[in-house]
Structures are given as structure tokens and as C-alpha cells.
């Protein structure tokens, strides 16, 4: 190879062609000059030009070398070939001269060739270098891109918690990505991870299934797939999903497996949580002690829970798909249809109703249902119905109601019992009047010219007294009766008068004087006549009782009726008796509370229940200067009647 020195020289020299030729001339001239100086001693010094030619060829190239050769040959011919200093050449010197020329030519070409070889080499070297530089630059760029991609792949793996692995089946060596290390809880690329090491990390319970999956794929299965738990060195348990494809080599043999490991712990947890939640809701639906129905706008049962089907004596399959009206009692079907239609026209609002359903075996049950229509995205709205069997409850209510009515009746009868003698008296009065009147009539008719007008008048009075007696009997019978309460519009004043009819004798018997102050135009109330009579009777009897033993002042019982604020009617019964003891004031209306030696203590308690059931209030206060006042108020009847629940169930 050319030396560094010549490289620099070549660089400079090659640029200037003029310089090259000039240098050629210069060298030859220099060599000739030197040879001339030495000529007297050595003739052969003329050969020195050859050196010049070589140098020129080496330094300047072929053409200057040829020029130099030409010049040297000329100089040789002139200066160094006899005859000297002439261009002529002796024949005897011709071979020497020819040899010189040839040698010169040879030197020129050889040295030039060498130079061009050097040049070519140099150029080839430069080209190689520049090509190498290019390649290197390309390679660097590729490397950069590759690094970039690798970094992204790494990050993608990290984000997705997916690592890859590459297993050579022949050598059983495995290459793992950094993420795989991380998934397994190891520092990336920290240690040599062999299949054996991995095996240790797999949860013992899952090892058999992993081994089975591997065996299957080795035996020829299409894919390796396994889900197993990994116990990290730190103790944490993660669940992973491993997937791998077989990679065949050129000849179709299975050489490698390339797969991924996906950490699915979080997904598994989320799935578990969802499953638990789902189970919980399912449990609620299945096990709630109420019936759930889902019904569409046409009334088809879309779903029902086990309790719902059970209560009706059907299986779920027997109910789903049927029209919900089928399970309702004939008479109530129209009402159900209307209620369901109303629900669908008022999306989102809940409404309730109580109606009868028919079980598979034909028995009736009374249910209370609450329904609400729910919108669903992309699907038709459905009605959600919660249904509660209230048959037993209604029966209990009715039994209670019956018991109360019985109790009220017994109390009434007991009171009537107490009133027995005065009732008898009450009937006796008109009877006595009738007898006396009739006797009078007989006497009048016994005379020769009877005063018939007087007789007539008296007979009319007899009829009236007869009616009066009958009325008292009727009132008694009403009170003694045990019919179902029947509510209607009443004038409370009439009710008061009814009671007074029965109780007047008792008042007189006890020497109690009665004052009655009934407001003339009382608005009507809505209630049961017998029950309200019972209340007033109870209050009057209590008043009378309170005044027995009172001797120092008149015994006065007053009954007042008044309209009260807005829409109420009040009645007050006051006496001049012993009043209410402060210590009893709280317990007065309690059941079984009594200050009477032979009392049951039910009167006021029942009276209060009756008044409250009518929507009113009963209360007591002290009267001045002596005694007590009992007030009750009742709401005025409005023009609309309340509807009754269907009662004939079972």
C-alpha cells in the first residue's frame, strides 16, 4: 500500500497538471545537470536520468514520465552518447542508446503503472471507506429504529402485562422478555430463567394442568394454552394466561415455540367481583320472601322468581310466557289491566293495588302489588311488579275487627243490662199513659152524650204514646244488636236524641237533670249509627255515675253539639260530678282502667277506638266548678264515599 507520505504528496501533485509536467522537466533537467557534472569522470552517469524518469513516473504519472523519458532520451543522445554534445548517435553506441531508451520507457511505464496501481488502490480504498461509512450510517439509522421499536414493544408489554417467551425445543433453552420476568416477580434479565425455575414458580395445584397442556402440544396439538397461578418470590399470587404457537423450520419439523404470558390477575378479580355481585342479586331475586314479576306492555310474564311461582302453585316454566291476567280472579281482571296500562303510561311512577289472584288449585289469595315501569336502552320498557300475599293479614285484620265488634257489642249489652230497670221504666211511662188515657176514654164514652172530640184527641195521644214506646224498644234493639257496622250520613243530633230516649229514665232515677243544647243546622257526619250511639251512651252513663253521691249541689248533665273549625262537628257531655283525678288523667282511656267497683273498664277505651276509627278525637277535661267534660269531634262527611276493599276472601 502507498505510504502516508506519498498519499499527501499525491494529493497535492495530482491537482495541477502543469505542475506535473513542469516537475517532469525539472527532474530530467536536474538529473542531466548532475550527470553532466559527473560526465568527465563517469560517462555512464547519463543513466542517472533513468532515476529521474522513475521519480517522475512515480510522482507525476504516466504522461509526464513519458515526457521525461523523451527528454531524457534526447539528453542522453545529446550529452551522453558519442558523439557527445550532438544529437547524432554512433552506430556502435546505438545498442546502448536503444537500451537506454527502452529502459527509460520501461521505467516510465512501470513506475507510472505502479503509481496508477497505487492510485487505483487508493481510490478503491476511498470508495470502500465511503461505502462503509454509508453502510454504517444506514446501519445506525436502522439500529435506532430497531431500538425505538424494541423500546415500544417493551412498553407495550409492560402496559398490557404481556411478556413473550421463545423456547427452542431441541435445546430446551428459553428466552424471556423483560416483562415476563416482571410478571413472574423477578428483576428483568437478572438471572438465568430456565423451564425448571419457572416450574418452581408455578402454583403446585396448577402444575398438573400446565404439564398436561405442554404434553398435548408436544404430541401434536395445534396450540399451547394454559391458565395457571404463579407464586412470586415475594409470596404474591398472580394468575397468568400462557399462549404459544409452534414454529416449524424449513423441513416442517417443530423446532420452536413462541408464546406470550399474560398477567390476568386484575381481570380475574374483576370477573370474580362481578360474579359475586351477580350471585348476590340473583340470590335476592330467587330467595326474597316476596314475589317478583316482570311483565311487558302486553301483559306477558317475562320472568318470575321461585317464590312468585310457588305462591301461585305453578312452576316458573308454567308462568313465563303466559298473560299475567290469567292468574287473576275473573272479577279483578279488568282492574289489573287498567292498573298495568296506567303504569306503562306513567313511566317511572310506582303505583299499588290490592286484588285477588287464583292459584293453580283454584284457591283465592289476596295480594298487594306495587309496580313500576322501567325503561331499558334499546329494548321495550318492562313493568317490575312486587307482589305480597296479604290473605292471612287481611284475615287477621278481619278477625281483629270481628273481635273488636264483639267486644263493643258485649259492652253495649252490658250497658243495656245496667240500664235494664230504667229501660223498663222508659217503656212503662208511655204504657201507663196509654192505660190512663184509655180508661179516661171509656169513662167519657160511658155518659149519655159523650164529648167525642175529647175522646178523639185522647185516642190520638194514645197512638202517639204507643209509637213512643215502640221507638224506645227499637233503640234498645239497635244497641243490643250485633250487625256489621254500616256507615252512612248521619245528623249527630239525631243520634243524641236516640240515646236520650233510652237513657232518660236512668237520668231521672238518679235525680239528674238534663240540659240539651244541640246546634240547629249541624253538617252531616259519616259514620255508623249504633257505634256512635254507644259512645254517647257511654259518656252519659259515666256522667251519671260520676254524680251519684253528690248531694250538695244539683246533679246536672249537659249535652251540647256544635260545628267546629272548618269541617268538624263536636259534641260535649259534661257533668257536675266528682271530676277527673289528676293521677288518672293519662290512663282514663286505657283498656281495663276503671274507678267503678264493678266496671270492666272498657267503655272509654272502646269509645275512643270508635271515634278514632271515624276519623275523630275523644278527650276529657275538668269542668268548672265541679265535674268533667268529655268532648269528641268528628269530621264532616264529604260528598265522595271511600271505596271498600274486597272482603270476601277465603
Amino acid at each position: 500500500m502507498a505510504s502516508p507520505l506519498s498519499e499527501t504528496m499525491h494529493g497535492h501533485v495530482a491537482r495541477f497538471a502543469l505542475v506535473r509536467y513542469g516537475l517532469a522537466v525539472l527532474c530530467v533537467t536536474a538529473s542531466v545537470a548532475v550527470a553532466l557534472w559527473v560526465r568527465p569522470f563517469v560517462l555512464a552517469a547519463g543513466q542517472l536520468s533513468l532515476v529521474a524518469i522513475v521519480i517522475v513516473g512515480w510522482v507525476c504519472g504516466l504522461r509526464p514520465a513519458l515526457l521525461a523519458c523523451g527528454l531524457a532520451t534526447l539528453a542522453f543522445a545529446y550529452f551522453f552518447t558519442p558523439p557527445l554534445d550532438s544529437l547524432a548517435v554512433d552506430l556502435a553506441e546505438a545498442p546502448r542508446f536503444m537500451m537506454f531508451a527502452v529502459l527509460g520507457l520501461l521505467m516510465a511505464t512501470m513506475s507510472a503503472a505502479r503509481r496508477s496501481a497505487e492510485d487505483s488502490l487508493r481510490r478503491a480504498g476511498e470508495e470502500l471507506e465511503s461505502r462503509v461509512r454509508e453502510r454504517t450510517a444506514d446501519l445506525e439509522q436502522s439500529n435506532d429504529r430497531l431500538r425505538d421499536r424494541e423500546a415500544k414493544l417493551e412498553q407495550a408489554q409492560r402496559i398490557a402485562h404481556v411478556g413473550y417467551w421463545d423456547r427452542d425445543l431441541e435445546t430446551d433453552r428459553v428466552e424471556w422478555s423483560s416483562e415476563t420476568y416482571r410478571i413472574l416477580g423477578l428483576a428483568p434479565q437478572a438471572c438465568e430463567l430456565t423451564p425448571a425455575t419457572l416450574w418452581q414458580l408455578i402454583h403446585p395445584e396448577d402444575r398438573p394442568s400446565v404439564a398436561a397442556a405442554m404434553a398435548e402440544v408436544r404430541a401434536g396439538g395445534p396450540r399451547y394454552e394454559a391458565e395457571y397461578r404463579v407464586v412470586r418470590p415475594g409470596g404474591e399470587v398472580r394468575t397468568v394466561h400462557s399462549h404459544a404457537d409452534m414454529v416449524n423450520d424449513g423441513s416442517g419439523r417443530r423446532r420452536r415455540m413462541f408464546g406470550i404470558v399474560h398477567d390476568i390477575t386484575d381481570r380475574k378479580r374483576a370477573e370474580e367481583a362481578l360474579r359475586e355481585s351477580d350471585e348476590q342479586w340473583r340470590a335476592v331475586f330467587e330467595n326474597s320472601p316476596v314475589m317478583y314479576f316482570m311483565v311487558d306492555a302486553k301483559g306477558t310474564i317475562l320472568s318470575v322468581n321461585p317464590i312468585g311461582a310457588d305462591q301461585l302453585g305453578y312452576t316458573i316454566a308454567e308462568l313465563v310466557g303466559r298473560c299475567v291476567l290469567d292468574v287473576f280472579y275473573d272479577a279483578d281482571r279488568a282492574a289489573v289491566q287498567q292498573h298495568v296500562a296506567d303504569c306503562f303510561s306513567q313511566l317511572g311512577r310506582a303505583s299499588s293495588w290490592e286484588l285477588r289472584k287464583v292459584r293453580k288449585d283454584g284457591t283465592l289469595i289476596l295480594v298487594r302489588e306495587t309496580a313500576r315501569v322501567m325503561r331499558r336502552t334499546g329494548r321495550d320498557p318492562v313493568a317490575l311488579i312486587v307482589c305480597e300475599d296479604i290473605t292471612e293479614r287481611r284475615r287477621a285484620e278481619e278477625a281483629l275487627h270481628g273481635a273488636r265488634a264483639e267486644l263493643a257489642h258485649v259492652t253495649r249489652v252490658t250497658t243495656l243490662d245496667q240500664l235494664a230497670s230504667s229501660i223498663a221504666h222508659e217503656v212503662n211511662q208511655p204504657l201507663a199513659a196509654i192505660v190512663a188515657d184509655a180508661n179516661a176514654c171509656l169513662n167519657w164514652l160511658a155518659v149519655a152524650h159523650p164529648d167525642l172530640d175529647q175522646v178523639r184527641e185522647t185516642l190520638a195521644a194514645i197512638v202517639s204514646d204507643g209509637h213512643r214506646a215502640a221507638e224506645v224498644i227499637q233503640r234498645i234493639r239497635q244497641l243490643a244488636t250485633k250487625t256489621e257496622p254500616r256507615k252512612g250520613r248521619l245528623d249527630i243530633n239525631d243520634v243524641v236524641r236516640d240515646v236520650l230516649l233510652v237513657v232518660r229514665s236512668e237520668l231521672r232515677h238518679h235525680g239528674v237533670s238534663l240540659a240539651v243544647d244541640l246546634a240547629p243546622a249541624l253538617p252531616a257526619v259519616f259514620g255508623d249509627r249504633v257505634q256512635l250511639q254507644q259512645v254517647i251512651l257511654n259518656l252519659v252513663m259515666n256522667g251519671i255515675e260520676a254524680m251519684t253521691g253528690v248531694g250538695d249541689r244539683p246533679r246536672q248533665l249537659t249535652i251540647r253539639s256544635r260545628p267546629a273549625e272548618s269541617d268538624q262537628v263536636t259534641v260535649a257531655v259534661d257533668d257536675t260530678g266528682v271530676g277527673i283525678d289528676a293521677s288518672h288523667v293519662d290512663r282514663l282511656f286505657n283498656a281495663f282502667f276503671t274507678t267503678k267497683p264493678s266496671g270492666m273498664g272498657m267503655g272509654l277505651s272502646i269509645s275512643r277506638s270508635i271515634i278514632e276509627a271515624h276519623g275523630g278525637r275523644l278527650w276529657a277535661a275538668g269542668n268548672t266548678p265541679h265535674g268533667a267534660i268529655f268532648h269528641f269531634c268528628l269530621p264532616v262527611a264529604d260528598t265522595t264515599r271511600r271505596t271498600d276493599h274486597p272482603t270476601n276472601v277465603g
Binding site: 201507663a432 180508661n439 231521672r508
Partner: protein
């Protein structure tokens, strides 16, 4: 038959029908009758002087028959009193007769019995 005119029978009873019917009965027997709705009214009326016989109900609000009886006895009145009542036990009867009642009749009163009792009361003993 008209008897002892000038001698009035006073009936005291709080029951209007009974007052009327007893008045009818005694009037039909030819007697003169006045009626009073309570013992107090009777006493205030000053008819005691005219009264030849008193027909009295026992159970009345305010002053009862027994009280009136005793009042009259205390004031030295010698009007014969006939008690008419629905409540008729022996104990009461005894007491009343001791207090000065001349007769004791149970309601409903037999027409003849009352008339006779009144007549005999009116006849000066």
C-alpha cells in the same frame, strides 16, 4: 158525676204524657185537676191551699217525691198524698206510708184504682 167541686187534685209528674193522661183519667171521672211538672213548681204555685189531694210521682229530677212528702209533713200540711210510681219495692212502700202517704200505686195505674184512691182521699176522714 160531679163531686166536691172546689177541691182540686194536683198531679205532680215530670213526664208530660203521664200528666196529660192522668188529667184525662181523673177529669173523665168528674174531678178537677191541675198539673205541675215538678215539686218545686207545685210549691211555688201556692196551690197547696186549694189542693184536696196530691198525686205524686216518686222519681223526679230535682226534688223527688219523697223529699216533697217530707217537706209537706214538716210544714204541717195535711194534704193526702197518693204516690204513683214504676218503682215499687216493699221497702219504699213502707217508708212512704210512714212518711204520710195515703196510697201507693204502681204504674201503669189501673184507672179505677186511681180514681177510687183519689175519691177516698178527697172524702174528709
Amino acid at each position: 158525676m160531679n163531686e166536691e167541686s172546689g177541691r182540686v187534685v194536683s198531679i205532680v209528674d215530670d213526664d208530660a204524657s203521664l200528666r196529660r193522661s192522668l188529667r184525662n183519667l181523673l177529669t173523665s171521672a168528674g174531678l178537677r185537676v191541675e198539673t205541675f211538672e215538678s215539686a218545686e213548681v207545685f210549691l211555688q204555685s201556692g196551690s197547696q191551699d186549694n189542693t184536696g189531694c196530691l198525686v205524686l210521682d216518686l222519681r223526679m229530677p230535682g226534688m223527688g217525691g219523697l223529699a216533697l212528702l217530707r217537706r209537706l209533713a214538716a210544714s204541717g200540711s195535711r194534704i193526702p198524698v197518693i204516690i204513683v210510681t214504676a218503682h215499687g219495692d216493699d221497702d219504699t212502700r213502707q217508708r212512704l206510708l210512714e212518711a204520710g202517704a195515703v196510697a201507693f200505686l204502681e204504674k201503669p195505674v189501673q184507672g179505677a184504682a186511681l180514681v177510687n184512691a183519689v175519691r177516698s182521699a178527697l172524702t174528709p176522714a
